[in-house]
């Protein structure tokens, strides 16, 4: 197996590495789910994955298409009702990290999954908040992963579905019983973290082969870079193998062949 990889694979592997073994992770569908399961199948076998469908500590063989595929329940330690999931497990403070995707993000990590345009007559109606608004505030911290582009990294989100740090970076200040919020954003180009003071996103690591200009061009605001800018470690052979196997298994299953 060669060590060549796509930028999408780079993103997933990097996102997976953010999860530490033993963490409890409330997993969003799509990219976060892919990354979280890769983590579980590689360096973090005891990471605890929780999906909003009520499946606690699940270990799916293939990636779920929906947040509630049968696979999630069959491989879970137990499955609770959805009210219990949100009340006891999320709001109850049992989740270390929420792992989210988004349609739009701004410099303060506010997420928009509601709509493009005006609320009353939207240009594009998106699915909505789902679990994200409370995952973002009740989880200990939040990881975000999405593809980097001017369409997604915007100067102002059209709507704050889910709080990062607010329009001014201060929206968590003084709020009781709230998590730390987003602590890293992983894209196909780089890794970003909020500035400890201002909470504005700062690029801390560029993926191999990616330039500052690549990131600048794909970001809808004047993006800042850390003084000590690092290079993201490349995926190793095993990570790529496990990821590709997982995706192949998943594709076969969802096409109805497995």
């Amino acid at each position: 197996m060669s060590n060549e990889y796509t930028s999408a694979e780079m993103m997933t592997v990097t996102a997976a590495k953010a999860l530490e073994n033993g963490m409890t992770c409330f997993v969003g569908i799509g990219l976060p789910s892919e990354a979280a399961n890769l983590a579980r199948l590689t360096h973090a076998p005891d990471v605890v994955l929780i999906y909003e469908s009520g499946t606690l500590q699940t270990k799916p063989e293939v990636l779920p298409l929906s947040i509630g595929d049968g696979e999630l329940c069959e491989s879970a330690l137990t499955t609770v009702s959805v009210p219990e999931m949100f009340r006891y497990w999320l709001q109850g403070g049992k989740v270390d990290v929420g792992f989210l995707g988004t349609a739009q993000i701004d410099r303060y990590c506010n997420l928009n999954t509601t709509l493009i345009g005006d609320y009353q007559s939207p240009k594009v109606r998106l699915p909505g908040g789902g679990g994200a608004p409370e995952i973002a505030t009740s989880a200990g911290e939040v990881f975000i992963t999405l593809k980097h582009s001017k369409r997604t990294f915007v100067n102002d989100v059209d709507f704050i579905t889910t709080l990062g740090f607010g329009r001014d970076g201060k929206a968590r200040d003084g709020v009781p019983n709230i998590g730390r919020g987003p602590t890293r954003v992983i894209t196909d180009l780089c890794v970003m973290k909020p500035d400890p003071e201002t909470k504005e996103l700062v690029v801390v690591s560029l993926h191999p082969g990616v330039t500052r200009d690549d990131v600048i061009e794909a970001t809808g605001w004047e993006i800042r870079f850390a003084e000590q800018l690092e290079t993201t470690p490349t995926p190793d052979a095993r990570e790529l193998e496990v990821l590709r196997d997982l995706k192949a298994r998943t594709e076969r299953k969802h096409a109805g062949e497995a």
């Binding site: 569908i29 799509g30 469908s53 009520g54 499946t55 779920p64 298409l65 929906s66 947040i67 509630g68 595929d69 049968g70 999630l72 329940c73 069959e74 499955t79 609770v80 009702s81 959805v82 009210p83 999931m85 949100f86 009340r87 999320l90 709001q91 506010n110 509601t114 609320y119 007559s121 939207p122 240009k123 594009v124 109606r125 998106l126 699915p127 909505g128 908040g129 789902g130 679990g131 994200a132 608004p133 409370e134 505030t137 009740s138 709507f159 704050i160 579905t161 889910t162 709080l163 607010g166 929206a171 968590r172 709020v175 009781p176 019983n177 709230i178 299953k253 969802h254 096409a255 109805g256």
Partner: protein, 272 residues
């Protein structure tokens, strides 16, 4: 006390034009057969409640049954948009649908509160979100012990709830197993309830703490084999993920959708 009815008769008896209707099943056990029966009977002006509208409400909205939608995540899971929902919201086709939008946490708590007979649900929610600015059903209370401000939403108390379950026994007691979502809450919160089941059995063979809903808390039970298809019934058949993907193309186009509806609902008798 649950009465065994045909799905046609159950829907005809309990789902009235203008009613507030919850059809639940979180990805699992989505009551598609019941939804199709509502479409076939041409029900109108419904207020539809569902955490994840999914394809079933895409179909009801596209067929013109809905006036309002109360929801928290309106997509085709893992695939993309609900195009019929979008067409209604963005273009008003077949007519405008008013939306009341929540988060999952709030909807889940609202179902819980409805089952618990309370007028409101209280949660630590919506902090920093702009949803409260577009949904006047989100308010706040102050904790009399700590002074903390907490979100409040009205409880969900539908006129009628429809859910699908694996099986009922001959007394009408129902077992829901696997991903149980808010099915129990939907039934208990509703004025009237209809449960479709895969089969009727002599013995539910349920564990001591399984999710069993007594027959006396249900109004009607209708057998609907594969009644959750293309979603799934744990222990009976898997989710047809392929159909969920195919739906994207069907629902994108008004004509394709109409044709699909004709073929699979209107002209499909009670077996769609």
């Amino acid at each position: 006390m649950a009465e065994f009815l045909s799905l046609h008769d159950a829907v005809a008896r309990y789902v009235e034009d203008g009613a507030t209707v919850a059809m639940e099943g979180f990805t699992h056990l989505i009551p598609f057969a019941a939804g199709h029966e509502i479409i076939r009977q041409g029900k109108r002006d419904l207020t539809l409640i569902r955490m994840t509208p999914d394809l079933v409400y895409d179909q009801l909205i596209g067929a013109g049954c809905a006036k309002k939608l109360i929801f928290s995540w309106g997509g085709n899971p893992g695939v993309g948009s609900l195009h019929r929902l979008r067409d209604a919201v963005e273009k008003g086709w077949p007519h405008k649908v008013e939306i009341f939008e929540h988060s999952h946490a709030a909807m889940a708590c609202a179902f819980e509160a409805g089952a618990a007979g309370l007028p409101l649900a209280v949660l630590r929610g919506y902090v920093g979100s702009e949803l409260p600015s577009v949904n006047d059903q989100i308010k706040y209370i102050e904790c009399p012990f700590t002074g903390e401000r907490l979100a409040a939403v009205p409880s969900v108390r539908p006129d009628v709830s429809l859910v699908h379950a694996q099986k009922a026994d001959r007394k009408g007691n129902v077992l829901v197993e696997g991903i149980i979502g808010v099915q129990k809450e939907a039934i208990l919160a509703a004025g009237k309830s209809i449960v479709t089941v895969e089969e009727v059995v002599d013995d539910l063979e349920a564990g001591p703490n399984a999710c069993v809903i007594p027959g006396w808390a249900i109004d009607a039970i209708a057998v609907a084999e594969k009644g959750a298809y293309p979603s799934y019934a744990h222990g009976y058949y898997p989710r047809d993920n392929r159909f969920y993907k195919e739906w994207d193309a069907i629902a994108r186009d008004r004509d394709a959708f109409q044709t699909w509806l004709d073929d699979n609902v209107y002209n499909a008798g009670g077996q769609a």
